[in-house]
């Protein structure tokens, strides 16, 4: 006897099926049934023997969709279809609680927005907590590329993880958790590290159940004392083909709007660019990006060499994205921070702050929060507004999202 893979569901494509009954006739365990519209497979009965596949005259029978364990499409859902849903369309969010340390990390990261913020109304409904520490998914490293220039002191890497055909649904702005192998000095297993995905929802390579993360090798702590970051060094040293234990997805608020005409204002430093790259890439891959609103990016780094994704960003057309770089350590030039560039663009920023369809995202080092907050406060004052009044409104409308570390 074969047993069905719990991460895949056998489905019949009602758009192709001609209801000839051959599959139902053939199935040795009577897993196939029908109503007046559709032929369907009972997931709990199907043993995946595939006896029904060769006799099917249409090929409609030949679909195995990745699903979250225990989240098979019901017969009622299958009966209601005219065609199959997208292979990774499972909109089911689990109700399981977030792991404790994930909740703590998230709460610290979002403190800068001044209170809880929900996802934009038009955001895709995210799947969360599909895999946890007791049940992680094993991903394979499909690539590990240095993003920063040879001369840059920072080693920032673009790491592509492949889920081996298993569905790991991610939206731009969501995080995955990585558990470094081994134990800490006290002999306890390492706690989870969260990384924001840098790839859009259809994956770094579309359709292959993979994602990318942006990782900076940590060699010093916030005070500049030398320290070897366990998670980042583990990830940065990974070779193609290595296995990584991944949990998640996490995060149900720092998500992009999906409605036509929605704009994004993205402010980031360093690896905080990961979710911004994901969102930008999402918009770029959509067939007609012009139908959407503006993309405005403020991106800070020490030098161009240390700015992840600098090359690809420079290639994007100006009418697609309005990019504002700020470099703080270019020899012979004054130090520039993102807040300086925001101030310079005060007219546009003010307009965007007041545009109901503009959503604002901050991601990067904790240190940037204060400067950006002050820049917004100044711009409001300059234009006769009040940041203290505006901010709660932005929060209320899910238009202001902060994730800093």
């Amino acid at each position: 006897m074969t047993t069905a893979d719990p991460t895949k569901q056998h489905l019949i494509d009602p758009g192709i099926c001609i209801r000839c009954n051959t599959c139902e006739e053939t199935c040795p365990v009577n897993a196939i049934t029908h109503d007046s519209r559709n032929y369907v497979v009972m997931a709990e009965v199907c043993e995946d023997c595939r006896a029904c596949v060769p006799p099917c005259p249409t090929g409609a029978i030949d679909n195995w969709f990745p699903i979250a364990p225990g989240k098979a499409y019901t017969l009622e859902e299958q009966y209601s279809w005219d065609e199959l849903p997208a292979p990774d369309a499972q909109p089911v969010a689990t109700t399981a609680a977030e792991p404790e340390d994930v909740a703590r990390l998230t709460s610290e990261a979002t403190a800068g927005q001044g209170g809880p913020v929900a996802a934009p109304w038009s955001a895709e409904k995210p799947v969360v907590n599909l895999y946890n520490e007791k049940n992680p998914i094993s991903a394979t490293v499909a690539g590990n590329f240095r993003l920063t220039g040879d001369k840059a002191s920072a080693d920032i890497r673009h790491i592509v993880l492949d889920f081996g055909g298993v569905n790991f649904p991610l939206l731009e702005g969501q995080n995955i958790g990585v558990i470094p192998p081994g134990t800490d000095e006290a002999g306890r297993p390492h706690h989870v590290r969260l990384y924001s995905v840098a790839s859009p929802r259809d994956g770094e390579r579309p359709g292959y159940h993979n994602c990318a993360i942006t990782v900076k090798r940590v060699t010093a702590d916030h005070e500049g004392k030398p320290v070897k970051g366990v998670g980042s060094n583990y990830l940065c040293d990974l070779k193609k083909g290595d296995k990584v234990q991944v949990i998640g997805p996490f995060g149900a608020a720092f998500l992009m709007p999906n409605h036509a005409g929605s704009s994004l204002m993205m402010i980031c430093t360093g690896t905080g660019s990961a979710p911004m790259r994901a969102m930008t890439e999402r918009r770029r891959r959509k067939a007609q990006p012009k139908e959407d609103g503006k993309l405005m990016l403020f991106f800070g780094a020490r030098t161009p060499d240390e700015l992840p994704y600098f090359g690809p960003l420079m290639k994007l057309p100006k009418e697609f994205i309005d990019i504002n770089f700020a470099f703080s350590r270019v020899p012979g030039q004054p130090k520039q921070y993102v807040q300086d560039r925001i101030r310079e663009r005060h007219d546009d920023v003010w307009r965007q702050l007041n545009d109901e369809n503009c959503y604002i995202y901050l991601c990067g080092l904790k240190g940037m929060e204060k400067g950006v907050d002050e820049a917004f406060r100044d711009i409001c004052r300059q234009h006769g507004g009040d940041w203290d009044t505006l901010l709660p409104q932005l929060r209320e409308k899910s238009r202001y999202h902060v994730e800093t570390y």
């Binding site: 001609i18 053939t26 060769p54």
Partner: protein
């Protein structure tokens, strides 16, 4: 249950152990190959076609795909596995063990049933023999040839029964099956619908969608037969028949798709404009549907039939899915609604179910056809086009049964001869319609290319890409 391919005639009936039968069939085989050469697909003996061949009758083995030259196709004799202790499941012999040999008293009736079914198989190959020259793609050409070789195999299936169980009479019937010709004035095929031409691909798709579906229901009724070899033969044929229905349903669906796309793109539903763009307007498709539906409906025979009643009572031909139906498998007292024409009104009256078995099988078929129409209608619906296909009334354009002498409109009004003469051009394909469809037929035989009037399929055959080289010419 593997098939013995070392034999001249592949089979899973242990033909080698019955030398007389083996010799008889080996004698018939060259005649069949001659017939195929003469009446099979035109000008294709050297083409290598990506065909499905049964290598065993269990699910794992019966769909083996490879390139085959059609004359080398391994036609053979395949019966579905024997069911131990199978019984006669209906009629007056209900509960008796199913017959492995023909009961003497039913010999001539069974022979007639088998010959009539068998005759349709070569007939459709003959009707379709020129279509390869005008195929809209290699994919479609391959599907046509798959249908053709399997109709050929269905002939084998019936001839095996005739040879194995009907002695000399059976052998003579086997010869006659190779001698009749579709549309021949002197020696036509038995059933009228199988003497009609299949002049173009639209007709071919309609035929496989509608008329092969009659085949499905006839085979399904015979798969219930108390004569076990017939039941097992038909059961296996049904699995092959499904592909033919698919070819028809998806073929028309792809035509509709293409037309609807042009309608949306050019914002028009004007048949003249659409025809000028080289696609088939939806009203013309509806007319073809009306024609094929009504002609095929006649194949079920008269609504009230004592023949059908005795086939059932004698345990020879059951109802569709007989063994899945409720308690009553004798139909001594059951009733069934049948239409009747009183004046210019059509009423429904209850008649003994036993006499209405033709009508019942027709109704099952109508329901099945309607399901396909509903799926077609999803195409315009999805593209925001208000047109919907609809089946004409059961009495529309009928030649047999209670409506045979009357004229009905598609919406089921009894109309005068004058009105029919005046209106039938709106309901049935005219010579101009047929000429237009004919004018679109030109051969497209480059992998991945499709004629302008039809969309590519959603999926290739056996998971091959759509631009796969389904037929190779040498």
């Amino acid at each position: 249950m593997s098939i013995d391919y070392s034999q001249k005639i592949p089979n899973n009936v242990d033909l080698a152990s019955n030398k007389t039968l083996q010799r008889a069939l080996e004698h018939w085989q060259p005649g069949f190959l001659n017939w195929w050469g003469e009446m099979g697909p035109d000008n294709t003996s050297q083409a290598e076609v990506y065909l499905r061949t049964a290598i065993s009758v269990d699910p794992k083995g019966w769909a083996h795909f490879d390139y085959v030259k059609m004359p080398d196709y391994r036609w053979g004799i395949f019966l579905a596995p024997q069911e131990a202790e199978r019984k006669v499941n209906f009629g007056e012999h209900i509960g008796q063990p199913a017959w492995q040999e023909v009961p003497g008293e039913y010999r001539s009736t069974l022979r007639r049933i088998i010959v009539t079914q068998g005759d349709t198989e070569p007939a459709s190959v003959e009707q379709q023999r020129h279509l390869g020259m005008t195929c809209p793609s290699l994919y479609d050409m391959r599907n046509l040839f798959q249908v053709n070789v399997e109709e050929g195999r269905h002939l084998w299936a019936m001839v095996y029964l005739l040879h194995a169980h009907f002695g000399r009479d059976g052998r003579e019937e086997g010869e006659a099956l190779l001698e009749r010709r579709s549309g021949d004035a002197d020696n036509p095929r038995i059933l009228t619908a199988f003497n009609e031409k299949t002049p173009d691909w639209l007709s071919f798709f309609m035929f496989t969608f509608i008329t092969d579906r009659d085949g499905k229901f006839q085979l399904a009724a015979l798969a219930e037969s108390g004569f076990d070899p017939l039941a097992r033969t038909c059961k296996f044929m049904l699995t092959e028949e499904a592909h033919h229905l698919f070819v028809g349903e998806s073929g028309i669906s792809r035509i509709i798709q293409r037309t609807c796309e042009m309608m949306v793109q050019h914002k028009t539903d004007d048949p003249a404009k659409l025809r000028a763009m080289g696609v088939i307007d939806l009203p013309t498709l509806q007319k073809y549907l009306n024609f094929h539906y009504s002609v095929t409906s006649d194949l079920y025979g008269a609504e009230i039939s004592s023949n059908a009643a005795s086939f059932y009572t004698n345990g020879l031909k059951g109802r569709y899915e007989e063994t899945k139906l409720g308690e009553d498998h004798r139909l001594d007292t059951a009733e069934y609604p049948v239409m009747e024409v009183v004046g210019d009104k059509i009423i429904v009256k209850q008649v003994p179910a036993l006499t209405a078995l033709n009508e019942r099988l027709r109704d099952d078929w109508v329901k099945d056809v309607q399901g396909g129409i509903d799926r077609w209608n999803r195409v315009p619906e999805k593209l925001g086009i208000p047109f919907r296909f609809a089946l004409p009334h059961k009495g529309f354009h009928r030649k047999i049964g209670i409506f045979g002498e009357l004229h009905l409109s598609p919406d089921g009004r009894v109309i005068s001869e004058a009105e029919w003469t005046h209106k039938h051009r709106d309901w049935m394909p005219t010579a101009e319609d047929r000429a237009f469809v004919q004018s679109l037929m030109g051969r497209v035989a480059e992998p991945g290319k499709f004629a302008n009037w039809i969309s590519p399929p959603a999926r290739g055959i056996n998971n091959q890409p759509v631009d796969f080289e389904y037929v190779r010419f040498n």
